[in-house]
């Protein structure tokens, strides 16, 4: 790791202010992704602001009948929360499908949203990568791209978004609550939070400089049957090749969100509209515009088959 200094923030405002006054500073929460990347010198902060002790570890009802999840709520606690299990089971399922028990004990709700891609060319500092080093090119486009995205890609980047949790939050139309360095607050809809790579794949989300995530807010429960299906190379502790989050209503309507196949947690209005027609129609709609490489075309068929499996599961 490159040398850095360390401080512990006493309040949200102090955290944002310290960040604003310290060039090269980063917030550290669970640290499970940031420290990994710092060891590889992909991330090189000069100062770390520890935001673990700001009282942002609570889960509470909102006045609107939804749920406010503090940014420092650990993945384990969020998945196990009684209200989440009952009303937002797809979120519990997505969290439990990710990482290992040890990592979920550390990883936070806010940090997970900022988790960076697992594209091997992003991780290998000897390779060109527009996300890691803007303008250096993309090693993946003509490289080993089996794990990478087929939707939302650009000529500059085909890195897949790695999160399971964020796929469920996308499905549930969560809002990301933030505070900026000047103390002002806002809520960013999850649909707008993660950005498509376009020509600037290093810009991954809508956060401004020093903007800090304080909580994630879920709207009222959707009801219905919640399912999350993740397909990967190992039965456990691996990133998704394809994942599908779904909530099926009794009247045949449903909504879907996809992971592993896109550059951000993916939704498609056309896929949701196709729900009553069955899995094949949903897959066709969801995969409209897919641009597979020589190695990851299989993800199209795998998505269709995962959807078929989900339809069978909800009937069981």
């Amino acid at each position: 790791m490159r040398p850095f200094t360390y401080s512990r923030a006493g309040s949200v405002e102090e955290a944002a202010k310290t960040a604003a006054g310290t060039p090269g500073a980063r917030f550290i929460a669970g640290g499970t992704n940031l420290l990994d990347l710092m060891k590889l010198q992909i991330e090189t902060p000069t100062h770390l602001i520890d935001v673990n002790h700001l009282g942002l570890d609570r889960i509470e009802r909102t006045a609107e009948g939804g749920l406010r999840i503090g940014a420092m709520v650990r993945n384990t606690d969020l998945a196990a929360d009684a209200t989440v299990r009952r009303d937002y089971a797809v979120l519990s399922r997505a969290l439990l499908a990710g990482a290992s028990g040890q990592l979920r004990n550390k990883a936070t709700t806010g940090g997970n949203l900022l988790q960076r891609t697992r594209c091997p060319y992003f991780y290998d500092t000897r390779m060109p990568c527009n996300k890691r080093k803007p303008g250096s090119g993309c090693g993946a486009l003509k490289g080993m791209s089996r794990s990478l995205a087929i939707l939302g890609t650009s000529e500059a980047c085909i890195a897949q978004h790695p999160s399971d949790m964020a796929v469920a939050l996308r499905l549930l139309d969560a809002g990301v609550d933030t505070v900026r360095a000047d103390g002002s607050r806002r809520t960013i809809p999850i649909a707008d939070f993660h950005r498509l790579p376009g020509a600037t794949p290093h810009v991954e989300n809508a956060l401004g400089p020093c903007e800090f995530i304080t909580s994630v807010t879920l709207p009222q429960p959707l009801g219905g049957t919640h399912v999350y299906r993740k397909v990967r190379d190992r039965a456990s502790y691996a990133f998704a090749l394809v994942s599908v989050a779904a909530v099926f209503a009794r009247d045949g309507k449903a909504r879907f969100a996809f992971g592993g196949i896109a550059t951000k947690p993916w939704r498609s209005d056309a896929a949701d509209a196709a729900a009553p027609s069955g899995a094949a129609a949903v897959a066709e709609a969801a995969l409209n515009g897919a641009r597979p490489t020589a190695h990851n075309g299989f993800k199209q068929q795998l998505t269709a088959r995962t959807l078929a499996s989900l339809y069978r599961q909800k009937e069981a």
């Binding site: 040398p3 499970t32 990994d36 770390l48 384990t76 299990r85 028990g101 550390k106 456990s236």
Partner: protein, 213 residues
């Protein structure tokens, strides 16, 4: 056959040498003043107080020091192992404030005031923790490198099941119960390259059944 499972290092070094190599827990290696000054330019030394295996320790650390390196290099608690150093193998698993974590993916300075249990804190060669005893009984290791992490993880897994924390293979999120399937899923963050997995599951099952009885 006599088995000395607790310390490979004792075995390698001979017990007298090993005893000399283990300074009193809690004494950080004091760096010479000029050396500390030199380090200051790289990143200032940061004080941190931890409670490790029931004993309070105070260290001055380069903030880059992971909890794993603080335990091994500064406190000489070498039971906890460094495998991949990237959170992929689980060899560095310790229990912090009652929860298992990868000690390689957290900074020691982030753990001010925390209670940390390593494999050395679970039991001693004279008084083994039931999980340590079960790993010996069931031959839950071959080379032994991943074993401290496996044991710390396994102890925490049984606590997680008892606390009703669900897993990926829990059919009904509200009904969490011990099963071999649950153990396999929950232990997936601990890799054993000797593949002693079936014996590890047997060891954990024995302890779980013992706790129930």
């Amino acid at each position: 056959m006599t088995v000395e499972p607790m310390s490979r290092r004792n075995l390698l070094q001979g017990s007298a040498a090993a005893a000399a190599a283990l300074p009193a827990l809690g004494e950080a290696r004091a760096a010479p003043a000029d050396h500390r000054h030199a380090r200051k330019e790289e990143g200032s030394m940061t004080p941190v107080g931890l409670t490790v295996n029931g004993r309070e320790v105070h260290l001055h650390l380069d903030p880059r020091t992971t909890l794993l390196d603080a335990l091994r290099e500064h406190l000489r608690l070498t039971g906890t192992k460094k495998g991949c150093d990237h959170g992929q193998c689980g060899a560095c698993t310790v229990i912090v404030e009652g929860r298992r974590i990868n000690s390689c993916l957290t900074l020691a300075v982030m753990h001010e005031g925390d209670r940390i249990t390593t494999v050395e804190g679970l039991g001693t060669p004279e008084k083994l923790h039931p999980m340590q005893r079960a790993f010996i009984t069931h031959d839950g290791y071959q080379c032994g490198y991943c074993t401290p992490g496996q044991i710390c993880s396994a102890v925490a897994v049984l606590d997680e099941i008892a606390a009703g924390i669900p897993s990926h293979v829990t059919d009904d999120l509200d009904k969490v119960a011990f099963s071999d399937r649950e153990v396999r899923e929950r232990m997936s963050g601990n890799i054993c390259r000797c593949a002693a997995y079936s014996n590890i599951v047997a060891a954990i099952r024995e302890v779980a059944e013992g706790e129930k009885a």
